[in-house]
Symmetry: C2
Subunit: 243 residues, 2 copies
DNA sequence: TTGGAGTTTTTTGTATACAATTTTTTATAT
DNA sequence: ATATAAAAAATTGTATACAAAAAACTCCAA
């Protein structure tokens, strides 16, 4: 009797490997469309239109929608279809509370479980991120950030934490993409992550925890500030339209 | 212009209300079948058979499977269908690590945010649980435990934490149902929850955190012990079969 | 104009048929 | 007997057709 053993380090791209099904593609397309603002928050998503957009049939599309619903990016009501989830201040606070718990735990575990190779990889991922940010390359910055967190979550040796975070990550990206447009925030964020990286490499659990919390607190503050500004802007716009 | 406001306390049965679709029913049926051991861990789930079992058509069934996959109860491979997820020691530790982070955070937030009505409800839920356990009523105990956690998660004012936990709750139930058969563990668990309840009602954040962690540590230990015993049993059985 | 009942249209929920892939079986050669 | 390759069966992936519910529209009355 042979026993199948899981690899110690699970890598995401390996988990759902070779899933080139149309469902996966449709899911990604819709996800991108939402994150890039093609669909606005609260907007009704009509299945037939999504079929046209993605080229997929309705059965496939519906499976994709079920999956997207699980990540909280869209919401469903019986016989009334799906809508893009709305994000108010309360919701953002809740998401950050959860994110903080998960990421901070991951950081703490990293200090105890990461291999030397992984701490080196983390250091490199940070350097890469630093270059992207100082070069004002937003697209590469996004990829670099993803890579950094990939290393972090591999090193913490807990696939479930990553899974839980993946279920809110889309909404986090949505928030993050709006933040990265602010140069000040970008530089501040980089500095926060530098401190986090330092603590992680030193395997200083307490410092890592503190750095992670500080980073997320700052990010939350920036998001809320941005939301407040948008609120004011949209009101001013409405007023001018009315005039 | 009217602004729609979310209710402060979101109740689960209200979130997915009136979802009497066949998909929801099929999903529940398969979920129950797995939790009750009708399908064993690792077993292949053939869609056609599930159709017969649930009475649903394949399109509906597949949507249900996508949702169950999101909760980690089943796993999918392209063109190879679904299997009931397997739980090894590593996986159980990961789940408990995540669960601890989420439940402990919920408990801490409860001490700061719960209304007087909610602390009262929690107290009552505990009393109810105590009765069920001392009366050796396993079915009612399960419901009582669910009710207790419903109050806890309502009081912490964070729907996202609950959502994240719901994505692993099925696997937790799976573990819990095996534990509750041990009378000693039942009583110990009750005592742990008594301490947690006390701390929550006193709004003692530090004590609540400690009680929550202690409870989950004990539960994890009991699960691992149980798994080790089962391992020995199954080996003994295999041996005797070979003879 | 407004409000409401009935009808039409649209949209979601469901079932089934077809295509692509995997698994099993069978036949054949070594 | 065993291994291998082709063929058959089973299973998943995909598309489409039908049913039920919701939304939009029409028309008439107050």
């Amino acid at each position: 009797m042979t026993v199948t053993r899981e690899p110690v380090v699970a890598i995401k791209s390996e988990i759902d490997r070779q899933d080139t099904t149309r469902r996966a593609k449709a899911q990604d397309l819709i996800r991108s469309a939402i994150l890039n603002g093609y669909f606005s928050t609260g907007q009704k998503l009509v299945e037939r239109e999504l079929c046209k957009l993605t080229g997929a049939s309705r059965s496939i599309l519906r499976e994709a929608l079920v999956k997207l619903e699980a990540s909280g990016l869209i919401e469903r009501q019986s016989y009334r279809g799906y809508r893009v989830a709305t994000l108010n201040v309360q919701k953002v606070c809740e998401i950050f509370e959860l994110r903080a718990a998960l990421e901070t735990l991951a950081a703490e575990l990293f200090t105890e479980r990461a291999s030397p190779e992984e701490t080196a990889a983390l250091n490199q991922a940070y350097s890469n991120l630093e270059q992207c940010i100082t070069a004002f390359d937003l697209n590469r910055t996004r990829a670099a950030k993803q890579q950094y967190y990939d290393v972090l979550f591999s090193g913490c040796r807990n696939v479930e934490i990553r899974r839980a975070l993946e279920n809110i990550i889309d909404r986090i990206y949505y928030l993050r993409s709006r933040l990265m447009q602010d140069p000040n925030r970008r530089m501040a964020s980089l500095e926060e992550m530098r401190r986090l990286t330092e603590a992680l490499i030193k395997r200083d659990r307490v410092a890592a925890r503190a750095a992670s919390i500080a980073h997320l607190e700052a990010a939350r503050g920036a998001v809320l500030l941005r939301m407040a500004q948008d609120e004011v802007d949209s009101k001013a716009k409405t007023t001018s339209t009315a005039i």
